[in-house]
Amino acid sequence: MQSSDTLFQQKHELWLALLFGSFSLPDEEIADLLYDFAMIEYRHLNWLGGRLAAEGKAFDYEKDEIDYRAETTHALFAKLKLQIEMMGRAYPDPEDAMYARFRSDEDYFVRKLESLMADPQADAEITAYDKHRTLPGYTLDKTQTDALTLFLFEESYKEYELILVYTYANFFADSKRLSNIFIDLIYESHFHLKSFARMMEKMGILTVPRTIMERVYKFEDLEQFLIDGIKEEEGAKEECVKLAEMVGHDALRDFFFFINNQENYHIALMEQALDFLRSRA
């Protein structure tokens, strides 16, 4: 049996392994299946964190290297299956409804992975991190490719950070209003992370974002965090517009303007949270 914080770390790592494993897959149907599993793991992480927070136990987002890289999809499935099975051995109480749910979900994931491993059609080469840096369907020159590469690295990290920060803030949210805003922001970032990571897979530059520093999410001043966050969102919007103008392809430009317009609503949500905090001060 492991301590709660170690269990939380292992759950965090498993979520990321499934998430980035799903992003690395060339077959979109299988990628979607694994993405659903990863999102269920994220919900587990949320429930576990909520319980730890309610019990007053300390936990953080420290993580070791995430083992999601493989040369073929079958090799990846085998790797993920092993990690899920290790997770199952770490749960403390077999009678606890939450851990029983975790086990039941993961037993199903293992069976699905085993069936994929038995299907030769489900095996394929993985090129998600071979650094080829071309985007199928687009001709980008070096400047455009470099700009897109940097943007994807910066923003995939940022979206991962936002998911973790708002998830952590939500563990301690003391109002339904704030909690709803955090949940909206979390799921917006899940979508952005997925969009950027799938593009990184296509370019061969997929990577799990680095560990975020504790002081980023264990902040004392939520109001200041939101003020800084609004500034950052405005900066991200600018980068998005610059990139949209630079890439010079209608479909890509359209995508980045779509993302940019979503950021407007994030800012509105953060301003609502700020107003709410100030109204009760």
Binding site: K131, A147, F153, R210
Partner: protein, 146 residues
């Protein structure tokens, strides 16, 4: 969109796999290089064998340029003595003068985090209980934050 010209294969590799990233538990010294203008920072952790840098890790709140610089910089110092490390850092800082402003700030944060760790080590060795030491970047000169 800084650093586009610098986007070489090696740079991409450091972005994908930053070397020596992450906290060292029970480090012998910890230093922070902080940018007071935007709250970005680099934290460096040292594990020593005598005066030799056995392990040097970093974490950062910053852009990819900071991560790449931290990755390359820490890789250079593994296995060096503290004295060699300090001299490499001084040279690194001197060379930053010609770098674009944003890269200069990133490089300066990394270098000053290392220098701050050296100050922290000195304090610890002289018996002071100090978790970490911080140096703030401010153009050409170093400003003590604590």
């Amino acid at each position: 969109m800084a650093d586009i010209e610098a986007l070489k294969e090696e740079y991409i590799d450091h972005m994908m796999n930053p070397r020596n990233y992450g906290k060292i538990e029970e480090a012998d010294a910890v230093g922070i290089g902080q940018n007071p203008f935007n709250n970005e920072m680099v934290e460096i952790y040292l594990k020593l064998e005598g005066d030799v840098i056995e392990e040097i890790n970093f974490m950062a709140i910053g852009c990819m340029s900071t991560i790449v610089t931290g990755s390359i910089f820490t890789d250079m110092l593994v296995g060096e003595t503290l004295q060699e490390g300090e001299s490499v850092t001084e040279e690194f800082l001197a060379n930053l003068v010609n770098a674009p402003e944003e890269q200069r700030a990133c490089g300066e944060m990394v270098a000053k985090a290392f220098l701050a760790a050296l100050v922290n080590l000195e304090h610890r060795r002289s018996g002071k209980e100090e978790e970490r030491y911080t140096l703030v970047i401010s153009g050409d000169c170093v400003t003590d934050a604590e």
